[in-house]
């Protein structure tokens, strides 16, 4: 109990004094997970829309694959991204293993199926006749897709939140492909694990409180935007 209190006090101290190292780690976490989420939204929303509005053979198989991938274990992603990015691996020429870019790649791989899956579900919830109506008004299929995305916007915000929540809290992939390098690839989750193994439980608790607050505030902002949109309809 005493330890938790110590941790909370330490977190407050770190937040107030704007501890340089903690600040850098927090900013890096936001940057990396933010970019990864952005990439996953671009790929996920496009793929999800394509799957939702098209009927093709094997659609159910594709969907079930996406749904399974929504639960991809981060360590598995981390392992494969590491193997691909090794110096002597297929993408070794990029030289990005143990850099923040490697973490972005891994996190984007984790978040993309989440965003894709939720997008498909959101699209399929729209009335089927809406598509026909839009097409009847003379829109191209591309324009139709854009309109459908706009219609499903509220659910898509949920997709963004789920994707971001998935990657900011993820550790297995970040530690494998990033290496937890001080001042370079150390993010909130990997720092927490390291401080725990160093026995600095107060710092570890402080870091996890910061992580939680961060996740909360970002979701708060997104929820605000979402609800505002919903009110304006």
């Amino acid at each position: 109990m005493e330890l938790i209190l110590e941790g909370v006090l330490k977190a407050i101290k770190m937040l107030i004094s704007l501890d340089r190292e903690v600040l850098d780690i927090t900013i890096l976490s936001i940057k990396v997970s933010g970019i990864a989420t952005a990439i996953s939204v671009v790929i996920g929303v496009t793929t999800g829309t394509l799957i939702a509005i098209n009927d093709f053979p094997g659609k159910k198989v594709a969907l079930s694959l996406v749904n399974t991938a929504m639960g991809l274990p981060p360590v598995v992603v981390g392992l494969f991204v590491t193997i691909f990015l090794w110096r002597n691996g297929p993408f070794g020429f990029l030289g990005i293993l143990y850099t923040p870019y490697a973490i972005i790649v891994a996190q984007a791989v984790i978040a993309t199926p989440i965003v894709t899956g939720i997008t498909v579900a959101a699209m399929q919830q729209l009335p089927k006749k809406l598509q026909l109506q839009i097409l009847a008004l003379g829109a191209s299929r591309f324009q139709m897709a854009v309109i459908l995305i706009k219609e499903a916007k509220l659910s898509l915000f949920a997709a963004v939140m789920a994707g971001f929540g998935g990657v900011i809290s993820e550790i297995g992939a970040s530690i494998m492909v990033g290496g937890n390098i001080k001042g370079y690839t150390r993010v909130l989750t990997t720092a927490t694990v390291m401080e725990t193994s160093k026995g600095n439980f107060d710092v570890a608790i402080a870091l996890s409180i910061i992580l939680f607050l961060l996740a909360y505030f970002i979701n708060l902002i997104l929820t605000y935007i979402q609800q505002k949109e919903s009110g304006s309809r």
């Binding site: 394509l50 020429f93 030289g95 870019y101 290496g179 390098i181 193994s197 160093k198």
Partner: protein, 285 residues
């Protein structure tokens, strides 16, 4: 119909281009070194002192990957690291003799200690040798937490069981954590179990642990750390100059004098003893 796919394809392609562009070419450059090292150098905080100094002096950027010695050697064998700082002498010798590494130099040493619950159920205090102490743990079936991760500590521990002729694999009292030294000590403390630890990590974590140092001083427990450069002839992508610079730095008088006093301010005793210039003393092999 087709148009849509082209558009999709292009956007993915564009993303890839943008992505490659924002990747700094420097990350593959000659100023980066990948150092594969043990968890003990990171958990004790030594790498946080030595590496920034090296980076400032030589202008390299060191990517420290803190893993077990066994895993570090595996990375070296694939040419995925430039330089190793590890503590697993037998594996190191094999690594060098098989042509994976060059220029193996002693950097520092400390020793392993056998820690356990203060009540010492296996009665190992005052035992004559570490092998006997291990045997007593097995005979009393007291819980022992092994790293189980092929780290230098884990390899040493398995060798000690074998020397005592103890069957440990699959025994009910023998648990493998698969984690770093710090985590393993925490588990041992919670489960009132015995474990083998390097002295540096144990001293660093001591105040949070309910573990007592029960056995030390056997010459079998010597724990030397060596630096090895990954062989650039075998792996052309290795940063040869950077690895050599790092090895030279660790052997330098400056780094050695830092190692000598590291930890004294916090714990009243050093965590490592320098080994590069002079002969190892105190604990002879």
């Amino acid at each position: 119909m087709c148009f849509r796919y082209i558009k999709y394809g292009t956007s993915v392609f564009l993303m890839f281009i943008i992505f490659t562009v924002i990747c700094p070419p420097s990350s593959a450059g000659e100023k980066n070194i990948i150092l594969a090292t043990t968890t003990s150098t990171q958990d004790s905080g030594l790498s946080d002192v030595l590496i920034p100094l090296f980076e400032k002096k030589y202008g390299y950027f060191v990517k420290t990957i803190a893993i077990g010695s066994g895993q570090a050697i595996r990375m070296g064998m694939k040419g995925e690291a430039d330089v190793l700082l590890i503590h697993s002498p037998e594996e190191e010798e094999k690594f060098v003799s098989e042509g994976f590494g060059i220029n193996r130099r002693p950097i520092m040493y400390n020793d392993f200690v056998l820690v356990g619950p203060p009540s010492d159920p296996a009665k190992i205090i005052g035992t004559g040798s570490v092998v006997k102490a291990f045997r007593k743990i097995a005979e009393s079936k007291s819980i022992f937490i092994s790293r189980g991760d092929n780290s230098g500590t884990n390899i040493k521990e398995r060798a000690l069981w074998r020397q005592g002729g103890v069957k440990y694999e699959g025994e009910r009292w023998y648990h493998e954590s698969g984690l770093g030294m710090g985590q393993t000590l925490n588990i041992a403390s919670e489960k009132r179990a015995y474990t083998l630890s390097d002295r540096a990590t144990y001293i660093t974590l001591k105040k949070r642990l309910d573990l007592t140092l029960l056995f030390e001083g056997d010459r079998l427990l010597l724990n030397p750390y060596h630096v090895i450069e990954v062989n650039p002839l075998r792996f052309p992508k290795v940063n040869k100059a950077g690895a050599r610079a790092f090895s030279d730095f660790l052997s330098s008088k400056e780094a050695q004098s830092i190692i000598k006093v590291f930890g004294v301010d916090r714990f009243g005793q050093p965590l490592f003893f320098p080994a590069a210039p002079k002969k190892q003393k105190g604990l002879e092999r």
